[in-house]
Amino acid sequence: MLYREAGDFKTSYRDDGQTFPIRLDRWGYYIVLAVAFGIIPFIINDYWASAVFVPFLIYAVAALGLNILTGYAGQVSLGTGGFMAVGAYAVYKLMTAFPDVSIVIHILLAGGVTAIVGMLFGLPSLRIKGFYLAVATLAAQFFLVWLFNKVPWFYNYSASGQINAPERTVLGWAVTGPATSATAKYLICLCFVVALAWVARNLTRGTLGRKWMAIRDMDIAAEIIGVNPLTAKLSAFAVSSFFIGVAGALLFAVYLGAAEVGEAFGINKSFLVLFMIIIGGLGSIFGAFAGAAFMVMLPVLLKNVLVGSLGWPTDLAAHIELMIVGALIVIFLIVEPHGLARLWALTKEKLRLWPFPH
């Protein structure tokens, strides 16, 4: 009743293939976009930006990237943290080497560099699958972190071994560096997220997306109908790494401001992003957002409830919080192994009938 697909007729294949085929969905997303661009920037403060919105947006990009590789193309990767580090160090080197070029171009180029590195580490996927591929990408994770630690050129020979983002502006607004306002951080991340989510949707509904899904679902049949596994798998690695590289660049330059590779881009990051797409839903754009929101906001929510409302000591709350997050992940996966995206789809099916079940 509340949610209807009936009566929403398409008279051309162009309409049927549009970004949001169902009218109600379309309006829903337009409203979300209007709120995200028109209202939140004016009311956002530092706490909300750094605790919730900016990390959510950045991890959404990373989750989109990993979801393209794992959810759509079926190639498991544990190298996300390492690839984010590539994006971060690439943007750092570019920012310091070419201070006059726009940071937006730097971030996109950092994504490009990561795409090349990702393709390189994707080569083993041509021979190995599943767990074995996961182990191979794990090697990428450790190798890349080691590389950025050991080669001083990457951190410009700084004494601390850290990289620090200098101040850069977009249209006169500082988006990196210590003087950045919450609104600027939020807006630049939002622009990247919206643009990249749209690209992800376009790629996955078209030819390339079908090739990826064909390889995921049955690689032998895919080859028989004319999919070249080499180009399909490597393009998935390249596109996915591009997204993850952009996420890494944003995480370092806009969010953290300063980073040490082992801490910021360790194996924990790989697992965090993997959890996001598993909880959110593999092979779903919405799932990447839902998973990122879940993993970023749940700890913040719990902390506010436990410390703020119940008045627990902070250290106790911090430990309990980890346990609750872990338990919730397990419960979610038992209730709905296909993630939040499937739960959302089921809700929509229920809403279609509600309140008249027959």
């Binding site: 051309s12 294949y13 162009r14 049927d16 293939g17 970004t19 690209v199 376009n202 790629l203 509904r205 078209g206 030819t207 390339l208 079908r210 090739k211 899904m213 064909a214 995921r216 679902d217 049955m218 032998i220 049949a221 895919a222 080859e223 028989i224 109908i225 004319g226 999919v227 070249n228 596994p229 393009s235 092979g283």
Partner: protein, 274 residues
């Protein structure tokens, strides 16, 4: 010279004109280690005919189909297609030559909708560049719509309009077989290989599938090579039949000729060894 002289065709019992040679297998031998799966087999497939490959279990029929579709590379022998000798090729290269196939155990993409599955059959015709696809602008969108129109024709043809948007994983067996046929047809192949298209079907589903096979051959002029166990179906559908047993060819000809071939009867009914 690589050009194979194409002979004249023939006229079938029901009056259809069959053209020259489309595919020719010459002295194919295929071994797996010490096991000889196919032993020195030669036969041809003519333009526009329905060619059946039959034989008892383990006769090497599926291996033969896999040789045609490029999965297996025979140790000896030559494969000629459209007048040219085909060297060792990857399966996706064979697909681009215009050979499509279905599988004995359905090989559809379970996570995708019926429509997307059939659209994958046309991947080789989609040439839009990466940027165009990423921005959904120009070539990518035009191509998507043009190919969608073709796919919709096939959906109409196979009468699966109502399950267009259903994920394939949810479909019953008979419909999956039909969707797989649709995917193969979407590629507009010159040669369509069907590996047991009627395995596990009830009489009604078999009738539907037979009708579709005949219609495909009739309306699109597609040459069809099929493997099938149901003798009634094979004899009714096919123009010529190759019979295999233990990797050898023991019969080749029209259904009537094959039916009366003593060696074939022995292979199917068994022969007393005394």
């Amino acid at each position: 010279m690589n050009q194979l002289a194409t002979e004249e065709g023939y006229v079938t019992a029901d009056g259809r004109q069959i053209g020259g040679t489309l595919m020719e297998m010459k002295n194919i031998t295929l071994r797996f280690g010490g096991v000889v799966a196919i032993k020195d087999i030669s036969f041809d497939i003519r333009q526009g005919e329905i060619r059946a490959i039959i034989g008892p279990n383990g006769a090497g029929k599926s291996s033969m189909l896999n040789v045609i579709s490029g999965f297996y590379v025979p140790q000896e022998g030559e494969v000629w297609f459209k007048g040219y000798r085909r060297g060792p090729m990857k399966p996706y290269e064979v697909a681009r030559l215009g050979i499509a196939r279905t599988f004995q155990n359905i090989a559809l993409f379970d996570g995708m909708s019926v429509l997307d599955n059939i659209m994958t059959g046309r991947l080789n015709r989609m040439k839009a560049g990466f940027l165009s696809q990423a921005l959904w602008w120009g070539a990518a969108e035009r191509e998507e719509i043009a190919n969608r129109e073709q796919v919709e024709k096939i959906i109409d043809f196979l009468e699966i309009q109502n399950i267009r948007k259903t994920p394939v994983g949810r479909l019953p067996y008979g419909l999956k077989k039909r969707v797989e046929l649709a995917r193969a047809l979407a590629a507009e192949p010159q040669l369509l290989l069907l590996d047991e298209p009627m395995a596990g079907m009830n009489v009604e589903e078999k009738e539907d599938m037979s009708r579709f096979i005949l219609d495909v051959n009739d309306e699109f002029g597609t040459t069809i090579a099929l493997i099938e166990h149901d003798m009634g179906v094979v004899m009714d559908l096919s123009d010529r039949v190759v019979v295999m047993d233990y990797g050898r060819k023991i019969g080749d000809g029209t259904p009537d000729e094959v039916r009366n071939n003593q060696e074939v009867i022995d292979a199917y009914l068994g022969v007393s060894h005394d």
